[in-house]
């Protein structure tokens, strides 16, 4: 019963955000898509707040790093500025290195082994 209720809550929140973004306010299409991506960011942040184990938080940080790359691509289309894609490439590489460091920390080893 509790499980069904929480699924319904998630469904209502997602449908409300989609209704607000696409039908309530009149915006350009790419701005609406960027707001949908921000909803995915909010889900990852919620998992960081409630995550029961440290591994959950590490996974969420990794996923946010990949989402930022897509966000930079969308902003590059939306504003027409070309150097957003450079930020995306640099962020992908840095996020990979950071995730490897977090994985080593989870294993309980030093960084130079």
């Amino acid at each position: 019963m509790k499980k069904i209720f929480s699924w319904l809550l998630i469904l209502v929140i997602v449908c409300t955000v989609i209704w607000l973004v696409f039908w309530k306010f009149k915006m350009p299409l790419l701005q609406q898509l960027t707001l949908i991506l921000l909803m995915a960011f909010a889900m990852c942040l919620h998992r960081i707040f409630i995550g029961p184990t440290p591994a959950d938080r590490a996974i969420s940080v990794d996923i946010i790093g990949i989402l930022v790359v897509g966000f930079c691509g969308l902003m590059g289309i939306f504003t027409g500025i070309n150097w957003y894609i450079d930020i995306a490439i640099a962020w992908a590489l840095q996020s990979f290195i950071g995730t490897l460091a977090l994985a080593k920390y989870l294993e309980g080893r030093n960084f130079d082994e």
Binding site: I36, L37, A55, I66, G73, G76, I77, L100, L102
Partner: protein
């Protein structure tokens, strides 16, 4: 015409991103969450980047978008594998209804 194809790829990528983040919220276990999110979010971001390439064409910005797809496809599975191994070695429990744990059996043997 190129812009319409680019919009279709961007929308498909966003749908995969949001579905992956719903999986991150709703699945019961660290390993299930990792398995759900890493694949779908990587595919979704690659879709957005391919949409950027369809918008820009064969300019330097479009080629950089293709380069970003290659980086993501190379680095994301390695990071996910390292995270799963780190989580298992740090003693994170599996979901109580899961059937078997091959990695633990191989470590004990």
């Amino acid at each position: 015409m190129n812009e319409i194809i680019g919009f279709v790829f961007v929308i498909i990528g966003l749908i995969f991103d949001v579905l992956g983040c719903i999986g991150l919220l709703r699945l019961p276990d660290v390993y299930s969450r990792l398995q759900a999110t890493t694949k779908s979010v990587t595919l979704g971001t690659c879709g957005i980047m391919f949409g950027v390439f369809m918008f820009k064409g064969f300019t330097p910005t479009g080629i950089k978008a293709l380069l970003c797809i290659i980086f993501l496809l190379l680095t994301s599975p390695v990071a996910a594998h390292a995270l799963a191994r780190g989580a298992h070695r740090s003693g994170t429990k599996l979901y109580e209804k899961s059937v078997c744990d091959k990695y633990k059996e191989e470590e004990n043997a």
